[in-house]
């Protein structure tokens, strides 16, 4: 392990300890009514994982998320390569896709619900709506940033369009595409959780909203903790791979 990654590891550890300390301090300050202590939350989380109903909710969320992410990747890469290749469509559509990124997409959810009905497909569609945009944008810019010499070589070798993608564009664009996948991963997770929070009978998002109704602080904090730890852990891993890919390129 190099010095730099050791330093990063130390920083992360210091950060985690500091966050837990702040949490504990807040708990001492506001007390039992509003907050559960870190230890109590951990204990409740362990208990939660042992129950069968929680496993159902967790599985539901993970399934919706997995399908949504797979679809986001496939659609995002296809559209991204198309827009990257075809300069005119790219120039026309890119600003529109960028502005979709900035709208509060939650307001579009009722339309998706009306179109797909309550259930898995609406959740998946909403996850895709969030996750596909960064994947498209990063793929597009990756294709644009490919070194012209590589493309010229491909043309000299008379590669077909699909061969060009397979042997030249894809390998050259991998680092940047991976960054898109990393951002897309996070946004897909946000999308599927938001969908569950608004209208759903199952999943972690539903559990969170249910916790408000029951005023079950421990439940809310435990589920929030599970989501945050999962998101942070996976994203740290992806970030690590991302850095390595960029250094190699």
């Amino acid at each position: 392990m190099s010095m730099a990654s050791l330093g990063r590891l130390r920083n992360s550890l210091v950060l985690i300890v500091a966050l837990v300390a702040i949490w504990q301090g807040l708990y001492w300050w506001v007390g039992d009514v509003a907050l559960a202590s870190p230890l109590a939350t951990l204990r409740y989380t362990a208990k939660l994982f042992a129950t069968e109903s929680f496993e159902g909710h967790l599985f539901d969320t993970l399934r919706a998320f997995a399908i949504a992410f797979a679809l986001s990747v496939v659609i995002g890469l296809a559209v991204g390569f198309w827009l990257g290749f075809d300069r005119l469509s790219g120039d026309t559509l890119e600003p529109m896709i960028v502005s979709v990124y900035a709208i509060p997409k939650l307001t579009l959810y009722p339309i998706l619900l009306l179109a797909f009905g309550l259930g898995l497909s609406a959740k998946v569609a909403f996850g895709v709506l969030h996750g596909v945009i960064p994947i498209i944008l990063f793929t597009l810019s990756a294709v644009h940033n490919t070194k012209p010499i590589l493309l010229k070589t491909g043309r000299v070798l008379k590669l077909s369009r699909s061969q060009m993608v397979r042997w030249i564009l894809f390998p050259a664009a991998i680092p940047e595409i991976f960054t898109g996948l990393r951002v897309g991963f996070a946004l897909t997770l946000i999308g599927s959780l938001l969908a569950e929070m608004f209208a759903s009978q199952r999943g972690l998002g539903y559990l969170l909203m249910n916790g408000i109704g029951l005023h079950n602080v421990e439940l809310i904090m435990a589920v929030t903790l599970v989501i945050v730890v999962f998101a942070a852990a996976v994203s740290t891993l992806l970030l690590y791979i991302d850095h390595r890919l960029h250094r190699r390129a």
């Binding site: 509060p104 579009l108 009722p110 990393r182 946000i190 959780l193 998002g205 994203s235």
Partner: protein, 250 residues
């Protein structure tokens, strides 16, 4: 107008026309969606009658409050972190993974702690925006050329003069990127949390209309939000491009 701009108008116009045809022929039924011209009519009536003004003002007020907080806290924190290297290095993993964590997941927790008022919404919008401002402030400050700061020292500028005449103009485009993101996030945070659970605001009205199958209210409000966010984002993006172009970075 350039050719690409015409194509853009054509794509958007085509999509709306397609929806219109699908709605009028009944392929999309009335319960699912109203025809676009009816949505525009309802939106006009709604705005003229002023029955949504309360909700609009509430949402705008909370968004502005969250935006102001995110900008103030973000820029000051960014400037301080720029000076304090050790803390910045420690916080770096937090900034790197921050946007992977669904901030909205904290909303139920905030409701339980602070009650179902405006505070949880403003807090969510603030949390979404503030890190983007910090990161872009740091980025901008990192890129201020050293020669400018040396020139400032030769001219014996006071720290305030240095900040106003050297650092700020130089870091400007990056700060603006932070502002642009913070505006979008403030909107998303406030409207999103109103939508999930609240007592008022545009997001609340949309979810209320959805629950009552009131398409005549829901679609115009959705269109209003789409138009507002696209317009604001467009203006800020254009300004950003202009600043970047002036600095020769395009």
């Amino acid at each position: 107008m350039s050719r690409v701009a015409w194509y853009r108008v054509f794509v958007v116009g085509g999509a709306i026309a397609l929806l219109e045809v699908l709605c009028l022929t009944g392929i999309i039924d009335k319960i699912t969606m109203q025809a676009p011209h009816l949505i525009v009519r309802d939106l006009y009536r709604m705005l003229v009658s002023g029955r949504m003004n309360g909700a609009i003002m509430k949402t705008l007020g909370n968004t502005l409050l969250a935006l102001g907080l995110a900008l103030g806290v973000g820029i000051i924190t960014g400037a301080l972190l720029h000076r304090w290297r050790a803390l910045r290095d420690t916080l770096d993993p937090l900034f790197a993974t921050y946007y992977a964590v669904p901030v909205f997941a904290f909303y139920p927790f905030f409701i339980v702690v602070f009650g179902l008022g405006d505070l949880p919404q403003v807090l969510i919008a603030f949390m979404l925006g503030v890190v983007a401002v910090i990161v872009n402030t740091l980025n901008g400050l990192d890129r201020v050329p050293v020669v400018l700061l040396k020139t400032a020292r030769i001219m014996r500028l006071s720290p305030i003069d240095t900040a106003l005449r050297m650092t700020l103009p130089s870091a400007g485009p990056y700060l603006l990127t932070g502002v642009k993101l913070a505006v979008a996030y403030a909107f998303i945070g406030v409207i999103g949390s109103e939508f999930i659970m609240s007592r008022g605001g545009i997001g609340y009205e949309i979810s209320f209309a959805y629950a009552n199958f009131d398409n005549a209210t829901m679609y115009p409000l959705i269109v209003l939000i789409l138009l507002a966010s696209v317009a604001i984002n467009g203006v800020l993006s254009r300004w950003e491009q202009k600043l970047l172009a002036r600095r020769g970075m395009r």
